[in-house]
Each structure stands twice: as structure tokens, then as C-alpha cells.
């Protein structure tokens, strides 16, 4: 996807014109052949359980380098659970188990001998609520390099990370102030800068803008487009417009009644395709209902 074309696609208003499906099919095939070598994550038949109940089941999808992949769907569909599989964050929840395989550049993430600490060093994460450490701005940035024993020029890392997170100009004179003195939107960009400081390959974002006002949200979205040049990004979002605005591909999840008797629900991947296709010409009725606002 050359950048001028993708820019045009992004700026077209969502859900207005019918898309020529033949053109789209052609586009998809071309993209696919180009991106096959750029496979970052290959998810095969993944089921995550909390205890015995699956929170999400039988998910298969591929995530490609330098793309932004959005995971959308109604509450409880397991998208947050799913994104936490990519950096083995679910390991922290004692009752959680992950079945199926996720490979990362061809390596099984859940193989024996894989150290989750090493995984998280390459696959960074930004959370829903801005959660800077109760330390200075500077110490927040340097935490990652320090715990990973990276020999870095501290000043340089701080400046570079903050510049990439579009925060440098706002905090350059407050580097030694508490991170809590920043606004919510600034705190979230600080968390992004902190993730960037260890130079990850992938950045996972779990509803990064849901606690922010529209202006801060806009800045985070602009930032994601810039970060895409260097990193592969996976984002969970509740906000369909956000997915439509920023992502290259979108995965739509929904909930399904697992057990009629107890009304227990689990999440399921309904459709995964280019964002444009998901929003303009979805293959599945449930996707269409969701993106057009008839459901969810």
C-alpha cells in the first residue's frame, strides 16, 4: 500500500459510498502476496480460558509488519483478553490458560523455554488507563532501559522517546517533575514514550484513548500513524470511528452464548479483513449490523 493511496483511503468518510467489490478483491490479493513475508504474528486456533470457561475461542488471524490492526467488538467479546496473549500478559492471571499457537516471527510464543520477560521487551504495551509510575517523567522513560540492562545514553533516550511520542515540547522543562503532574492525555503519551524507550518491535494498545477527551484522543491517533513507520501496532478499541480512522486491518469480535442454561458467553472472531472492507462491505451480517450501529 503506497502511502499516498493509503492516505486517501483513510480520509474518505466512512460508510458513505458503496465500494466496488471487484476492485477490493484485487487489492486484497495484491496486498496479501506482498505482506506474506511481513508476517509478525500468526495466530492459530487460540482459545483463552479463565478457569474452565473460555473467554474467547478458536481465533485465527495474522498480523503484519508496520500495520495497525484494530480489534473491535462489543463489551465482553474478549478483545482485551486476546490482545494480552501477544505479550503473555495473561500469564499474570493465575487462572488463565491459552490454547492454540501464536507464533511471533515464526517462533512459538508459548513454547517451553520462552521467557515472558524477553517477549515483553520486544512487544510493548499501553493500557486503557494511563498508568505512569509515581516517579519523575524522566525516570518513567528510563525504567524500561534500566530493568532490561540496556546501556544507553539516558538523556538521548529520554529526548528521543518523548519526541516520538509527540510529548517532548510539552515536558522538556518538566523532566524531573512527577509524572502525575501531567494531564491525562500527556500521561498516556508518556506511557507510549515509556514503551518506545526500549525500542520494541510491536506496540499493543488496549483502548489507549478510552479515558481521554476528544482532543487528546486525536493526538494519540495522529501519533499512532507516525509510530506505524517504525512499529507494528495492535489496538483494541471500543470506538468504531477510531478503528476506521487509524487502522489498516480490523478484526471484529462478538459474543456468543456458550451454554444456554447458564447464559455463559464467550468471544469469537467473526470477520477479519482490511478496515475499508470491514466498514464498507463486510462479508458477515453481524459485522454489518455492528459497524452500522444496529447492534452493540
Amino acid at each position: 500500500m503506497d502511502s499516498a493511496q493509503s492516505q486517501a483511503v483513510r480520509q474518505r468518510p466512512v460508510l458513505d459510498v458503496p465500494v466496488d467489490s471487484r476492485a477490493l478483491a484485487h487489492h486484497t490479493a495484491a496486498e496479501h502476496s506482498k505482506l506474506a513475508s511481513d508476517l509478525v504474528f500468526d495466530v492459530r486456533d487460540v482459545t483463552v480460558r479463565y478457569g474452565v470457561h473460555p473467554a474467547i475461542r478458536n481465533v485465527s488471524l495474522q498480523i503484519y509488519r508496520h500495520e495497525i490492526t484494530a480489534l473491535i467488538g462489543p463489551s465482553g467479546c474478549g478483545k482485551s483478553t486476546f490482545i494480552r496473549c501477544f505479550n503473555r500478559m495473561n500469564d499474570l492471571i493465575p487462572s488463565a490458560t491459552v490454547e492454540g499457537t501464536i507464533t511471533y516471527h515464526g517462533q512459538d510464543l508459548y513454547a517451553k523455554g520462552v521467557d515472558p520477560v524477553e517477549v515483553r521487551r520486544r512487544i510493548g504495551m499501553v493500557f486503557q488507563k494511563p498508568n505512569p509510575f509515581p516517579k519523575s517523567v524522566r525516570e518513567n522513560i528510563l525504567f524500561g532501559p534500566k530493568v532490561n540492562g540496556m546501556e544507553v545514553d539516558a538523556d538521548e533516550v529520554v529526548e528521543r522517546s518523548l519526541r516520538r511520542a509527540a510529548l517532548w515540547d510539552e515536558v522538556r522543562n518538566k523532566l524531573n517533575d512527577s509524572a502525575y503532574s501531567l494531564s491525562g492525555g500527556q500521561q498516556q503519551r508518556l506511557c507510549i514514550a515509556r514503551a518506545i524507550a526500549i525500542d520494541p518491535d510491536v506496540i499493543l494498545m488496549d483502548e489507549p484513548a478510552s479515558a481521554l477527551d476528544p482532543i487528546s484522543t486525536g493526538r494519540i491517533e495522529d501519533l499512532m500513524r507516525e509510530l506505524q513507520e517504525r512499529y507494528t501496532i495492535v489496538i483494541v478499541t471500543h470506538n468504531m470511528q477510531q478503528a476506521a480512522r487509524v487502522s489498516d486491518r480490523t478484526a471484529f469480535f462478538t459474543t456468543e452464548v456458550e451454554d444456554e442454561a447458564s447464559d455463559f458467553r464467550s468471544g469469537k472472531l467473526v470477520e477479519y479483513d482490511f478496515t475499508e472492507k470491514i466498514f464498507k462491505n463486510p462479508s458477515d451480517r453481524r459485522t454489518e449490523d455492528y459497524v452500522t450501529g444496529r447492534f452493540g
Binding site: M89, R121, F127, F133, G144, V147, A195
Partner: protein, 325 residues
């Protein structure tokens, strides 16, 4: 309720007819609720009793202490280096420093035992223990706080002292010594520090842990570099409260530390703490009305000021702790 005649606060008969068509104009005036007042009064009394008792104790303490300070100057009290209330060559010297020295020495030893053990248990319970292990271990640990201090005192004298004498030699370690009492007192305080610190550590938001793990932190790094600093003021408050208990602790030192007021930093010496002196004097060795008798109020008042200062300090830390994240 509707069938009973009611009287409003304004003295007007309330509508008894039911919800429709009130014959009286709508009244929103408050009613007297007698039950509320009684409860309020009782609760106030409960609070008042403890406050008045505290005020009364402090008053007695300081009034009687002032009798003592008519005979012994405050300057002498704080600068003289000998405490000889019970006769002998230097009878009548009332320098409180040896007693304060004893108290601080035992407290320091106790804290050296209690802080590492308490903090270690707290970090283990909060960050490492499986939920099931924590459910069992925390109550067991807190059970230790229920052991009567007189039992701990005998434990110090009959177990800890022989152990210390076996290790360091009977010529070095006196039968009554600060170390034995201090170590056992430290063990006594472990549950206080562990339990309160664990509360502080557990109160650190999960989000902070997750973001630290997300940056490639190991379990140890997350516990030491993120969770412990975030809980620091709560931990400091726990340590200060523990220290307050150590300073005020009486039975263990009265039994195991001895009755010899002495300016010393040697943990194996016999010493006397402020609390142990009060026990000794009250226990019949001082005649009522004598200077020695009055001295216990001076020592008591000083003890009160020390623990009071520590409690104020602890509260300040707790208040700060609320603001951290």
C-alpha cells in the same frame, strides 16, 4: 403507620386519610425522631468516654510530673548521666538518659529484627505467595501478635538468652541483656509491620505492576523498583507504629533486659528501659509521695511524648500515602 395519628413538628395533625386528596396543606417540616437522638447521644458518649479518659490520664501524668520537676530541674533530668533512685552512693541522681538509652537500644535491636523480617514477609505475601498460601499464612502471622508478652518475656529469658550465651560466650553476654529482649521484641513486632506493609503493598494498583511487567520487568524488579516504592509511605507508617509498640513494650524488657540503668551501646549489657523502671518503682520499691515515686510520672510523661510523636509521624506518612497514586 398511616392508621396511627401523627403529629408533625409544627404541631399540626398529620393527614391520616391516605395518599389521595390530602385534607391538610403539604408539610415538609422535619419531624422529631426520638430514637435517632438517643442513638446519637449514646454514640457521642462512647466517643467522649475514651477522649475524656485519655485527657484525664495525660493530665494526671503531667500534673504529677510537675511535682517531680519542682525538686529536680528539667535541665538536670535531661543532662545528668546517672539514674539512682533507690539509694547507694549516688542516691538522688535523676538523669533520665540511661533509661532513654536502654529504651532506644532495645528498640533499635527490635527494629533490626522486625523491619527485614516484616518487610520480607509482606513482599512475599503480597507479590509472590499464591492466593491460597496467602489466605493461610497471613492469619497465622497475625496470630503471633496474640502471644501474651509475658510469655515472650520468658521465652527471651529462658531460650534466647541461653542461645546468645552459647554463641558469644557467658563472659560476654550477661544473664539479663538488651539483645535477648530486643530480638524477641522484634519477633513480637513482625506481625504488625508485615500485616500493615502487606496492606500497603496490596493497595498498589495492579495497573502499575502490569505496566512494569509490560516493559520487560522481572518479578523481582517489579516488586522492588515499582511496588515497594509506591507503597513506601504505608510501609514507613507500619514501621513507625511498630517502633511505637517497641518503645512502650514493658513485660519483655522487665523480664529479660535487667534493672540496671546504664549508658551503653553494648547489646549484651544489662540495662533498664523507661518502662521497666516504672514497673520496678510501682512494684513497691518506691514509697508513695517520695521523689522516687514522683519520678515515675516524669518518666511516664516522657514516654508518652515519645510514642505520641511517633504516632503523629505515622499519621503524616499515612496521609501522604493516600496521595501518592
Amino acid at each position: 403507620m398511616h392508621s396511627e395519628p401523627q403529629t408533625s413538628a409544627a404541631g399540626m395533625p398529620a393527614a391520616a386519610a391516605g395518599p389521595e386528596l390530602p385534607s391538610q396543606p403539604l408539610s415538609l417540616a422535619g419531624r422529631t425522631r426520638r430514637g435517632e437522638r438517643v442513638i446519637l447521644g449514646l454514640l457521642w458518649l462512647c466517643a467522649a468516654v475514651s477522649i475524656f479518659t485519655t485527657v484525664g490520664i495525660v493530665l494526671v501524668l503531667f500534673v504529677d510530673a510537675s511535682d517531680f520537676f519542682r525538686d529536680v530541674s528539667i535541665w538536670k533530668f535531661f543532662t545528668d548521666t546517672a539514674w539512682r533512685p533507690f539509694g547507694g552512693v549516688e542516691q538522688g541522681r535523676f538523669g533520665v538518659l540511661p533509661l532513654v538509652n536502654g529504651t532506644l537500644l532495645v528498640t533499635a535491636i527490635a527494629m533490626m529484627v522486625a523491619v527485614p523480617l516484616g518487610l520480607g514477609s509482606a513482599i512475599y505475601l503480597s507479590e509472590y505467595a499464591a492466593p491460597r498460601a496467602r489466605r493461610v499464612l497471613k492469619p497465622v502471622l497475625e496470630l503471633l501478635a496474640g502471644v501474651p508478652t509475658v510469655v515472650l518475656g520468658y521465652f527471651a529469658l529462658t531460650f534466647m538468652t541461653p542461645v546468645l550465651r552459647a554463641i558469644f560466650g557467658t563472659s560476654t553476654v550477661q544473664i539479663f541483656n538488651a539483645a535477648s529482649a530486643g530480638i524477641v521484641m522484634g519477633i513480637m513486632i513482625v506481625p504488625t509491620i508485615a500485616s500493615l506493609s502487606e496492606d500497603a503493598l496490596s493497595a498498589v494498583p495492579q495497573g502499575l505492576r502490569e505496566s512494569a511487567y509490560g516493559l520487560g520487568g522481572t518479578k523481582r524488579q517489579v516488586a522492588i523498583r515499582v511496588v515497594t516504592p509506591a507503597a513506601l509511605s504505608g510501609i514507613v507508617a507500619a514501621v513507625i507504629l511498630g517502633m511505637g509498640r517497641a518503645i512502650g513494650e514493658t513485660m519483655i524488657v522487665a523480664i529479660a533486659a535487667g534493672n540496671l540503668p546504664k549508658l551503653t551501646a553494648n547489646p549484651f549489657d544489662q540495662i533498664q528501659t523507661m518502662t521497666a523502671y516504672i514497673v520496678q518503682a510501682v512494684g513497691g520499691e518506691a514509697a508513695r509521695g517520695s521523689l522516687t515515686y514522683e519520678s515515675i510520672f516524669a518518666v511516664g510523661a516522657l514516654l508518652f511524648l515519645m510514642t505520641f510523636a511517633l504516632n503523629v509521624l505515622a499519621q503524616r506518612f499515612v496521609r501522604r500515602y493516600r496521595e501518592v497514586y
